[in-house]
């Protein structure tokens, strides 16, 4: 699977959401995006944005102040 990475560390919401949105625009359905952030707000905001825009959250985890979210791009 075509997996892409996005570094959204040090950005505060909603900037990580905007970066994810802009990145996903360049990807094809079924592609996977892994985004790493430092603002804990992303754990709410990125899944919410994905739900309303038809993308799927594969996993969301946190480790030492970093939050990693894997997204499958929807149609």
């Amino acid at each position: 699977m075509n997996k892409q990475f996005l570094d959204a560390r040090r950005l505060l919401c909603p900037m990580p959401v905007i970066r994810v949105q802009d990145k996903i625009k360049t990807m094809i359905p079924g592609g996977q995006l892994e985004v790493v952030c430092t603002d804990p707000g992303v754990m709410q905001d990125i899944p919410a944005w994905c739900r309303i825009n038809g993308h799927q959250i594969l996993s969301a985890s946190s480790d030492v102040g970093e939050f990693t979210i894997n997204i499958i791009v929807g149609d």
Binding site: P14, P40, D45, I52, N53
Partner: protein, 346 residues
Amino acid sequence: MTKQRKAVSLISGGLDSMLATKAVMEQGVHVEGINFFTGFCVEGHTHAIRKKDKAKPKRNNSLWVAEQLGIKLHIVDVIEEYKNVLINPKHGYGANLNPCLDCKVFMVQKAQQWIQENDFDFIITGEVIGQRPMSQRKDTMPVIARESGANERLLRPLCAKNLPETLPEKEGWVNREELYDFSGRTRKPQMALAEKYGFTDYAQPAGGCCFLTDKSYSNKLVDLWTARGKKEYELDDVMLLKVGRHLRPQPHFKMIIAREEGENNFLQGYKNIFRTMTTVSHPGPLVLIDGVLSEEDSLLAAKITARYSQGREAEQVEVKMMQQGEEKQFLVKPLLSTEIPKEWHV
């Protein structure tokens, strides 16, 4: 077959845009939301920074509203373009540095571009005549429609019956009779409509959702421009004005003093950009210093840093100054509170 009409709705995250969107969706129009991020939005950044806010449930209200309505939301970064709106507002500022009328013109203009690029038919806003002193008056609402270029494609469902017919009404894309005639600052009609739609949870921002309506924030921005001798800013400036205690002991330097742990952590991210001060002998805040300091200024800054540490009553406090990897130590007596004039507080 009738063409499916499509509208984009400016979603702020508040109740009015939520209701306006719902009113049009109820008429069978396909609606998507759009939200513009200027950098001055109250939610988001500030909640992420301050530790005391971390206990509150965090949510982005525009995303939440979109999810409640079951619509897509497009969040657009307009930070760069917004600078010209704030720095050169054609219609001037409100009570503080809020260029509300120019801001609304700008956002509707951006929405107009968006509908053209995405083949949508019209724009929805949650504006209500008489609700805001600058941008939502009977005489300024036509200005927004005209100067944005949206003209008749701008529909305000909550007060449409108080305004001339727009294209969506004339063309029968929406039924004017099913729109509303709200006016003034009362919130009762909105609350009744929210109840009708079954909305029980919605954001009620006090004083708006923009930092530029805040007097204290506006004062800090004016101070920044005055010190730089020009009206310019970057996103980092916008964010730093939201954080910490700001003191300007001299016209040529300012101190940003963390007030709590969350702010301390946030300011850590700027250690490599600014000169910093911290207390070594006692627990204390991280302090960023913006400007150029003489030896005498550094000593004064160290005394102020010590004042805001837990060593404020001590005879001597050790303060460390760092700049680009270079370290300098000071042994100082903290200033007394009476030695910090009110005028230093920005």
